[in-house]
Structure formats: C-alpha cells, structure tokens
C-alpha cells in the first residue's frame, strides 16, 4: 500500500485522470481502488472498450449474415449481448442462427475447414491488441487455402480516440493512463506527439491493482510538478518499439481507415480495414449487405461517458431503464464497459463508501 500512501502525500489539489482501457476501469472498480483514492483524484473512464464502440449497424450486419446468409458467425463472447438496432447476437442465436463463441479467430479457421460447404465469418472486433491474431487468421486461411473464411472487421485504434477525447471542448482531462496491452503490441512512439500536442502527462499502465496505483502515482507526480511527459509504468511488458512481428502481421492484412465509433461519431483514421489484396477474406466485400444505418438509442449517454464527460451513475437510466439484462447501450453489457463495472461491482453505490 506504499503507492496509495505516496499518492495521498503527493496530491495537493484536484486532478482529473482518464484511464483509457476498459480493463483498467474494471480493475479499478473491482478492487475497490476508486473508493481508496484521495477525493482530490477524479478518475474518468475512457473509450477503451472495443465492444462498446462497435457501431450498431455492424452488429446488425453480423446478425444479418448469420440469419439471412446461412453463415456460421463466430465471435468473442463479449459481443453477444450487445444490442443492435433490433436485437443482439444472443437473441439471434436463440432464434436458431448458427453463432459460436470463440476465444481465438484461429478456431474459426478450423471451423471453416471442417465445414467446407458453409461460409464462416469471424466478427473481428477490438483495439490493436486483437488485431495481430485476426490478421494471422487471414494469413493462416490463405496459407491453408481455406476459401470459405472471412472476417467482419471493426478494428479501432487508441491514439485517435485519445485525440478525439482531448479535442472535445468540454474535456477536463489533465492526464492519461494509456493502455498497457495496446502498447505491448504497438510500442509507445505514437504517444509522444499526443503528449506534446496537448501538453498532457501520459503513463503507460498495466492492469493489476498495484500497476494502477503506481500509474496513478506517476501521473499525479507529473501533474503536481507541472510536467507533461510520456512515462512507462508497465516496463515488464511494454518495450518502446512494441512487438515488431505482431505489427508486421497487422500491416500485411490491414490498412488505416476512418471509423464510426458508437456514441462518438466518425473519427478520422481511427481504425483498420482489410486491404484490397485480401478482399477475398473481407466479409464486407464478400457479402452484399444493404442495411440502413441505425440511429443510436437517444436515451443512452455512452458517448459522454466514454469521453469522460459523465460517470455511469450520472445517467438517469443507470440501473433503472438500463441494466445488464435490458441494456440501452453497450457499456452496460461488455465486461470492459464502464457502466457494467459500476453496476456489478458497486451495486448502485459507486463513489459511495460501503
């Protein structure tokens, strides 16, 4: 508890710090850290929940493929309960669509091999962390000549999201904890320009309670000293140049594109799409899907939450109209969503001493 004591000794004034990654949000809430921090420190929860930012229309598209095109749709489990415009993948599964929960896209390639007469689509959702595995699945399918496999890519990137959060005129964020796992893949070089452009401290941080406390301490020390630099708390995992092999796989299959983020609208150059050279493995090119863009549920304030402008329990629908059983938006169901973290671990008592 040395870090906690040191945070208390160091802090002299209020600071607002955003942890970018939903895994960090959950660790903060699950381990009771939010309630242990001195009240000067206001942690706000960032957009680093891939399931939460996947647009409604893409979920609709996945459901359409499974229901209308007789596709075996494979997905990480997190995605299943997230509501599309009409229903969720779990609803479609209950209705008879062939939807399978996997832990690895390579499993989906295997399913494609075993079912040569069916098309198999992997719903490739995620930040830079899952991109290498999804890219590898395409490369593996190509090598094995599995032609009935494709991915429905919805990859998003952290640095443009940080930029979008900072560019919001209402933003009050004074420091960032950057996501350790993303930097394990991509390295830290992308973050120097952000630190310089916004003159803001940034600490690459891990996910264990001790990591988070140390990351917060490093950020508070910078803030108190009036500094703004990039620091790395997660040195046991993150090297400045990341994982070159993983990045090579990503760049072979994917290219940067504009993306719509659920709740946050379009962010330029904020995602990956499959390169034309691998069009045969791109579900959006392989299947013609004409689905109208679905509007967001107006009652859900997930955009404001993910930009750090509001806390989950600021939402009038939190725990009443919106619960994990009947969610209005994705952050209430994803295991990385801020609303789910508050709901599950704080029992409607977030921020309050229990």
């Amino acid at each position: 508890m040395r870090y906690l004591e040191e945070i208390k000794k160091t802090v002299t004034q209020p600071w607002t710090i955003m942890e970018v990654c939903g895994g960090q949000t959950h660790s903060l809430v699950k381990n009771g850290i939010l309630n242990m921090l001195p009240k000067e420190i206001n942690m706000v929860h960032g957009p680093g929940c891939p399931v939460c930012v996947t647009p409604t229309s893409l979920i609709d598209k996945a459901i359409y493929l499974a229901e209308e095109k007789n596709v075996i749709l494979c997905s990480f489990g997190d995605m299943l309960r997230v509501p599309g415009s009409g229903k969720s993948l779990l609803d479609a599964k209950a209705g008879g669509a062939d939807i399978r929960i996997l832990y690895s896209p390579l499993e989906a390639v295997k399913i494609a091999e075993q079912n040569p007469d069916r098309e198999v689509v992997f719903f490739a959702v995620g930040f830079e962390t899952t991109a290498p595995a999804n890219a590898l699945s395409v490369l593996h399918a190509e090598r094995m000549e599995v032609n009935n496999y494709s991915i429905l890519a919805s990859h998003v990137l952290v640095p443009p999201a940080i930029k979008a959060v900072m560019d919001d005129p209402e933003s009050k964020i004074e420091a960032f904890l950057a996501a350790g796992h993303v930097c394990t893949i991509m390295g830290t070089s992308e973050y120097h320009p952000l630190v310089a452009a916004y003159n803001i401290p940034m600490v690459v941080t891990g996910f264990e309670p001790i990591d988070l406390l140390q990351g917060i301490l490093m950020a508070v020390k910078q803030l108190e000293a009036g500094e703004a630099k990039l620091e790395n708390q997660y040195t046991r995992m993150v090297r400045p140049d990341g994982n070159p092999n993983a990045m090579e796989a990503i760049y072979q299959v994917f290219e940067v594109t504009d993306r719509t983020w659920r709740g946050m609208s379009n962010i330029p150059e904020s995602g990956y799409q499959v390169k034309a050279a691998y069009a045969a493995y791109d579900a959006t090119r392989k299947f013609s899907v004409n689905i109208a863009e679905a509007p967001e549920n107006p009652d859900c304030i997930s955009g404001a939450i993910m930009k750090g402008l509001a806390k989950p329990n600021d939402c009038p629908n939190f725990g009443t109209k919106c619960t994990p059983e009947r969610p209005l938006g994705a952050p209430m169901v994803s295991s990385e969503g801020a609303c789910a973290a508050y709901y599950h671990f704080s029992g409607l008592l977030a921020e309050q001493e229990v």
Binding site: M1, G23, V29, K30, N31, G32, I33, L34, N35, M36, P50, V51, F76, G77, D78, M79, L80, R81, R100, I101, L102, Y103, S104, E107, I111, V125, G126, F127, T129, T130, H181, P209, I210, L213, T323, P324, E325, S334, S335, E336, Y343, H344, F345, S346, G347, L349, V354
Partner: protein
C-alpha cells in the same frame, strides 16, 4: 471413466447404438434394461421391477429433484452419470438429510453409443455405492436425433432428516460465520476447458463428489449450530451468498484473500476472463455456522478428505443489508452482485 469398468465388462449385444425402439417400452426396451441396467444397479426394491417403489422411511423426510444436461457428457474428473447421483445426493445433504433412495430417468438421443451408455451406468453405480444410496425406480425414453443432446438424466431423491438438523435461513444472525468446504470453481472450469473452441490443455478436474458423509459428521458434531447448508452449483458462491443476504435481510462480508482456490483454476479463470465466484461447483458446500461452534466445525471438516480445504470466508453483518461486500486483496471494498445471464468470456 469408471475405475471399475474393467471388472464389469459390457454384455455382448447385437446393437452398438441406442435407437428409438429402445424407448418404446416394448421388447427392445427390455433388451436394453436387461442388458445391464437392472443387474448393475441391483437392489431388493429395484429388483421388484414394479411401476414404483414402496419405501420405509422414518421421521421427517427431505425430497428433491434435479435434471442434468451437461455438455460434454464426459469431462475431466467425471461424467454426467455420477454428476446426476451426486447432485441429488448433495441437495438432500444440504437439507440436513441422510440420502436414502433415488429415482433415475434417462432421456437418450438416438445414436448414443452403447459403450458410452455403459460407462455412464457404471459410474452411476459407483456414485451410488460411494454415497450409500439406492436407485429404486426409473424410466428410459429415447428421442429422435437432434431432439436431445446425447443423454439427459433426471434424478429425484428422498432422505431422512438428521435428528439434530435445524437448517433454517431465518435462524442466521449477525456474527455467524460462512465456511466454504473446498476449493472454488473447479467443476465449471473443468467443463470450460473441454468445451468446443477452447482446447487449452489443463489438468483441472471436476470436483464432483458426494457431500453427505461429511455433512452427517458435521451434524453429529455441532448439530443445530449449523444454520444453513447450500451447494453453490450454477451461479457459484456469489449467487448463493446474494440469495441468502437478500432473503435474510442481512449483509455478508467476505475477504478475497480467504477464498480457497487452486492456482491452476485461478489461472484458467484469469485467462478466460471469468470470475471464480460465479463459476459452478459440484463438490463443495457453503455452511453458515454459529461463531462459537466454528472451530469444532472446521476441525471436523479438515479430518475428512472432502473438507480438507475448508475455510471461513466471511461473516454475516447487520451493516449493508442484502449486500455482499468483498474486501479485495489490496484492501479496497466492492459489492459482489448476482450474476446476470451466463458468464460470457471477455474479449482481450
């Protein structure tokens, strides 16, 4: 697979798989039953082959039923057969009863290999012997392919309530201790490790085992100082604690560092993004024990292999009624809520 299967070879049959006719009630049904079911599960009451069994029970009787649909039907550490026996035996034991008799119903999907049915049958026999119960009546139905999933089993059981038992949630008071009799989450993770699409190598085995002998020893020793017994199967320990807190209108406070969990199971949970507090258990119970009796209770647990990892994990409190609050390993506090839907794996 059963250790005893070698000593009990499958009889020679002119069919290799179970078909619709085996559930018709006619000749094929008799061939299936005569091929071994009656012989393997032999006892005086079953041998009468009547429509039902006439039982001789004394005092208060506990009565419970459970259906088993686990997939896959064979998993590390057990199969659906022994699970079906242990599940009902344990539900009776949690009532403070000495389990005596079971009914046994099979719903079989046509095409089940006879060898698999035989293995299941032998492990049912072994589980009955271990628990000291008898199967005294039963039923077999066969459904078309695609209308079931290999085999479903229902067991119903009766048992005589221990004279000193006073299992009653309303007797729980602030200060009462919560004891967990074994290590968390092994069964759920054993099943997860062999589910389609996972394929991680693991040594994790299901903890399925009968709890009735230990439960009886504990009732003999501390009697009505045991206020509640529950087996935290589906929904795990968190769900059971929430149910008790809600129904008794008291708070529960537990400490993360006191939770008994095997390193491998903890690692698998971490890897798959599952919280062990919500993962199913089959071979452990949660007991609420008066504070003054808890030392004797634990000593008795530790003397029996079934309870060797038993630990006090928490206490009832008048504070935060209806809420389960856990002190994390670093000293923070959080509410442990009830599980919503099925626990789904996380994404990264």
């Amino acid at each position: 697979m059963s250790k005893m299967s070698l000593s009990c070879p499958m009889p020679k049959l002119d069919f290799e798989t179970i078909t619709l006719g085996h559930g018709s009630g006619g000749k094929l049904t008799n061939i299936l039953l005569d091929s071994g079911v009656f012989e393997v599960l032999k006892n005086d009451l079953l041998d009468k082959r009547h429509d039902g069994a006439i039982l001789d029970l004394k005092g208060k009787v506990a009565f419970t039923t459970d259906s088993f649909v686990v997939s896959p039907i064979f998993f590390p550490g057990g199969n659906i057969g022994e699970l079906a026996v242990n599940g009902t035996v344990n539900d009776l034991a949690m009532c403070g009863a000495i389990p005596r008799y079971l009914s046994l119903s099979f719903i079989i999907e046509e095409g089940l290999p006879m060898t698999e049915f035989w293995s299941i049958l032998l492990s049912i026999r072994d589980a009955c012997l271990a628990a000291g119960v008898q199967v005294v009546t039963g039923d077999t139905k066969v459904v078309e392919r695609g209308k079931g999933d290999k085999i479903f089993i229902n067991t119903t059981g009766v048992g005589e309530v221990h004279p000193d038992a006073a299992i009653d949630l309303t007797r729980i008071e602030p200060g009462d201790k919560i004891v967990l009799s074994g290590e968390l989450a092994a069964h759920g993770m054993a099943i997860m490790s062999v589910r389609e699409g996972l394929e991680f190598e693991s040594q994790i085995e299901s903890d399925t085992q009968p709890l009735n002998h230990l439960a009886k020893e504990l009732l003999d020793e501390v009697g009505n100082d045991i206020k509640l017994l529950r087996d935290p199967t589906r929904g795990g320990v968190a769900t059971v604690l929430n149910e008790i807190a809600r129904d008794r209108d008291l708070g529960v406070s537990i400490a993360q560092r006191d939770l008994p969990i095997n390193d491998q199971v903890a690692g698998a949970c971490e890897l798959l993004g599952l919280d062990p507090l919500y993962v199913a258990n089959e071979g452990l119970f949660l007991a609420v024990v008066a504070e003054e009796a808890v030392d004797r209770f634990l000593t008795k647990c530790h003397a029996n292999p079934v309870g060797r990892f038993a630990k006090v994990i928490g206490t009832f409190t008048a504070q935060h009624p209806k809420k389960v609050v856990m002190t994390s390993s670093i000293g923070g506090k959080r509410v442990v809520s009830m599980l919503t839907g099925e626990q789904l794996p996380r994404i990264c």
